[in-house]
């Protein structure tokens, strides 16, 4: 289940935009609207988490790279 739900960042963004489009429609049912909105919030939450996770990884890589540069500069 987790693997099936593991979608790329792009897919999540497209999904959120689709939800917003659907919710913005005047013919949507209220119940459905609420459901969609809740789903949208969940996707956004995941996206934030992914962003934070990515930022953390890149910062780690950068720090490792800079640490590797330091001995050569000292030489």
């Amino acid at each position: 289940m987790k693997e099936k739900e593991s979608v790329t960042y792009r897919h999540m963004l497209e999904k959120v935009e689709s939800i917003i489009t659907q919710v913005s429609s005047s013919d949507v049912d209220l119940d459905e609207m609420v459901t969609k909105v809740e789903e949208g919030y969940q996707v956004i939450r995941k996206m934030r988490e992914r962003l934070l996770e990515t930022k953390g990884k890149i910062e780690k890589l950068r720090s490792e790279f800079e640490e590797a540069e330091l001995p050569k500069e000292e030489q």
């Binding site: 959120v16 939800i19 913005s24 049912d29 209220l30 609420v34 909105v37 962003l51 540069e69 050569k72």
Partner: protein, 564 residues
Amino acid sequence: MHVAEVGILIYYECSEYAITISGKTYPYREAIKALGGRFVGHDKTWQVTRSEANLAQVEALCASLGGGPLPGAAPSTISDFAPENQSPEGIEANAPPPVAPPSPVGLTLSQLLQQISGAVNATFPHPVWVTGEVQNLNFRGDTLYLSLAEQDAIRHVSQSITVNAVIWPSVYQKLCQQHGKEALQGVLQDGMQILCRCEVSLYKGRGSISLSLLDVDLSFTKGKLALEREKLLRELRSQGLDRTNKSRELARMPLRIGLLTAEGSRAESDFLHQLEEGGFPGTVLFLPTPMQGEKVPKAVSQAIDQLVAADCDLIVITRGGGSAADLRWFDGREIAYKIATCPIPVVAAIGHHDDVCVAEEICFLRMKTPTAAADFVISCFQPIWTRLDECREQLLVRTERCLQQNESQLTLLGRTLHHGWQHSLTRTQQNLEHLQGELLERFLREILRLDRIFLRLEATVALASLTTLHRREEFLRQKARQLWEGFQLGWHQQLAKVEHAEKGLVACDPSPWCAKGWTKLTFNGTTVRSIEGISIGAKVSTRLLDGNVHLRVEEIHPVEKNKN
């Protein structure tokens, strides 16, 4: 000779050696044959050897058939008929009296022939010597039949006079004993002129003269041949033709020999065998040619022409045997002139040692036998072979001398070469050592030079490498910065999108409105925005904050709109 009257079926007449049966003899031929009779075709008569027994049987046969002897006069013994024993008066005394014609109208043929026969017998009561040319000689059984011919010189016509003749077996045997069979056969040949002693008789059946040979003078024939031979030789000598072939130049090496002889004869085998034994190196063109008989002159003449055309060096005419009488063909004009005018030397080994024919007289060389002729051919090569042997010896000696000289020179050259080679090798070794040292020195010098160059290049490369490396490292650091900056930018953009999406969701979230009591009505899944969309009694749905509510419309009250 006894002669009977004509008019009976068959009759006979007797001569000294034979009984002649004539008339209608065909139905009784077997009986006559049984008596030893031989049919004479040209007379249409039968000849039976006279003997007491045969005469008695013939008489009995003719008597049984209504025949008998023919009447006529005959000498009682042979010796009485010898010309030397006859006198003219005796000849007349022996002449039969004339016969009176039996018929007043004239003589019958038989009577005529009888008178003629009588006249012949009276004229020739004894055997006479006659000359003539032998023609149509042939044996029928033991009897020899021939014709004697003569050109009619008196009447100057080309037609010859021919008289039939016969030699009875007993006479033939006697002549063979007397003269020798070979000598006799040498004379009794077609074309030969002979002098013979004959009984002259008239053959009444044909009305022709018939001669019965009793003897032959061989010396006459030989003398005539010898005269003709001498005449021809004189004729050739007068023209100088007896020396022409002798003066032909014989090739030093007669390698092409033309051979004329009978095919399969002893002469052929002897000649060829002797040539082979002698190691003859050339070729033999053999033309089979008859060496006896009347075809010899033409055959030999044509063969000589063929050999001349074939460009032979020498012609050999040879025969191994045969009678001396056959030599007469080589005494003829045709062969003599052919040999005399032949441009090629002709060697003849034809006759016996004491019989030299004209061809042998005038040819280039006469040899006694085919073997001797072959030896002559071989002898032509002897000087050349001797000379070749001498040359071979000289060549051997000179070659050996030359070889020895060359060997000495080679030995000297070998020593010189050896010394020279050693000296050259030593010099070459020294040069090589010198070159080796120089090469090594140059090599070391070059190594040092290259080493210095390599060191310089190494330093240059190192320096260039460090510079390049620093440049590359700076490039990478720049790229890392760009990457971080790009990431940051993108991340913030994504965050902005998320926040924007969140705001959109917030804007669409009905929960706050629901918390304030607002809701949305739906009828059959459709949002109700106006009272006109529904009617009283319709079932509508709505959602509150914490659940759904299903309602039924009971009353509808429109709201007045603001006119401002």
